[in-house]
Amino acid sequence: MAEEMRIVLRNYGKIDPLKIDDYIAVGGYNALNKARSMKPADLINEVKSSNLRGRGGAGFNCGVKWNFAYMAQADQKYVICNADEGEPGTYKDRLIMEGDPQSLLEGMAICAHAIGATQGFIYCRGEYPSVVKTLNMAIAQATEKGVLGDFSIEVRMGAGAYVCGEETALIESIEGKRGEPRIKPPFPPVVGLWGKPTIVNNVETFANIPAIVEKGAAWYAGIGTPSYPGTKIVTLTGDVVNKTFFEVPTDTTIREVIFDFGGGIPDGKGFKAVQIGGTSGAFIPAANLDTPIGFDAMTEIGAVLGSGAVFVLNDTRDIVDVTARIAKFFAHESCGKCAPCREGTMRMHDLMDKINSGRGKSADVVLLNKLGRVMSYSCLCGLGQAAPAPVMTTIEHFPADYNAKLV
């Protein structure tokens, strides 16, 4: 059976997260010292060649992103940690921040050295007030010890808006505004917070950095699947025996995640579908269970790795009802800035509700597919672009479930 491998959760449950000395005793901040002895360009090259790709969903090469901000000329640059974690079914970033907050601060400080920033922000979702306290305590301890040098970090709290996980909406929110995404380009590494070059990385991405700097790019690049190396934390929800989290190498298959780590489907029921990556992810049928969870393998089957949320449905579940619920989520969370998303998510929710309540016709299913296609390329940000995925993939893989509800 496949085994867990803990890199970002290396200290989880092993050290007292509220004591920086515990972190230092297990080698914490050695990587930052090492990074500071390196030239920024060399450090960035190391991160680049580790092939670490963002853990927040888009999978962009971390070192390449850092290089854009490094190259940008500015009197001030910023490092932002995206701790908005709004994707339903996801709580991996909370685990890192609760269990090992210093590893996040160290990763951010390494980034700051690489790009030449002195100010950092952690944008933590408002649903995590206790995490905000933990982070502030960790920052106070790190500041008192002097380990962060001239780099300071401030925690900002979100206030319940899924779209603020989108990096430019997040930046708007830190600026004290409504969290509406900006038109890209320019991208944040060039024009970000208060117009300055800004790196936005996910919590899990940053937590990988100290390990990579310490053990080297080659070590990291050799773990899991080559095009998306390392590990991924997966959080299991729904109809699965072990509703918990695991950190697994990225060549682990979906089947291993659900049936080995997850212990399979409870109560002797069968598998129907799994939605990976959060509520914006595709639903995946049994035929694709042997796909590795790595970014590109998932893309190949028309799905995403996303946040690593793994939501399992057994064969007694009403998948149309679940998808209708999901459609409501997007209608509620659309920020309203662009028409295709504002109108599209609402229409999609209407149509799903109509079908779910037994009033739909086959023409409504056709319309859903057409609407979904248009939204996927015409919406301004990833929210509206990804919103149709659960609808379109359930129509594709589970047509009988829809047909059974049509008049």
């Binding site: 900002r156 206030a159 505004k177």
Partner: protein, 147 residues
């Protein structure tokens, strides 16, 4: 602290309006109109912009709320774990519907999306404090502790 003092505390923080609103809600549980108008002045923004911020974020409320805000997660993992039954139990226990507050000003019921405690669905929060693996039968007991 009154709201003027709180706003003054955050006035020099770049982009601090959201932080200020959080702090004011800690005290008042919602954002009254005069707070929003005053915030616009303190942060030197049009009133429309302050109102825009106050109404954009689901954790902020411009309507009066109970002392304890109970939020029920209705995201898909909580949905399949039986969130609807928890909603029914809460509505029955408090005698109000979702989106309403009790007449004694103690409790408000709101939906929320995932609060990141999905290892133990369904989940509710009371003033931010999560309750995990909530069963309808537990609702009376949970509420009693706040009365």
């Amino acid at each position: 602290m009154n709201y003027q003092e709180i706003l003054a505390k955050y006035a020099d923080k770049p982009g601090g309006m959201i932080e200020a609103f959080h702090a004011i809600q800690e005290e008042l549980n919602y954002l009254p109109e005069e707070v929003i108008i005053e915030a616009a002045k303190v942060f030197n923004k049009p009133t429309a912009q302050a109102y825009g911020v106050a109404t954009f974020y689901s954790m902020f409320s411009t309507a009066k709320r109970g002392k304890y805000v109970i939020r029920i997660c209705e995201s898909a993992p909580c949905h399949v774990a039986g969130a609807a039954e928890v909603v029914a139990a809460l509505e029955k226990e408090l005698g109000v519907k979702m989106g309403e507050s009790t007449a004694d000003g103690l409790f408000s019921l709101e939906f929320t999306e995932c609060v990141g405690q999905c290892q133990a669905t369904p989940v509710i929060t009371i003033n931010g404090e999560p309750y995990l693996d909530v069963a309808p039968a537990q609702i009376s007991g949970i509420i009693a502790a706040y009365k």
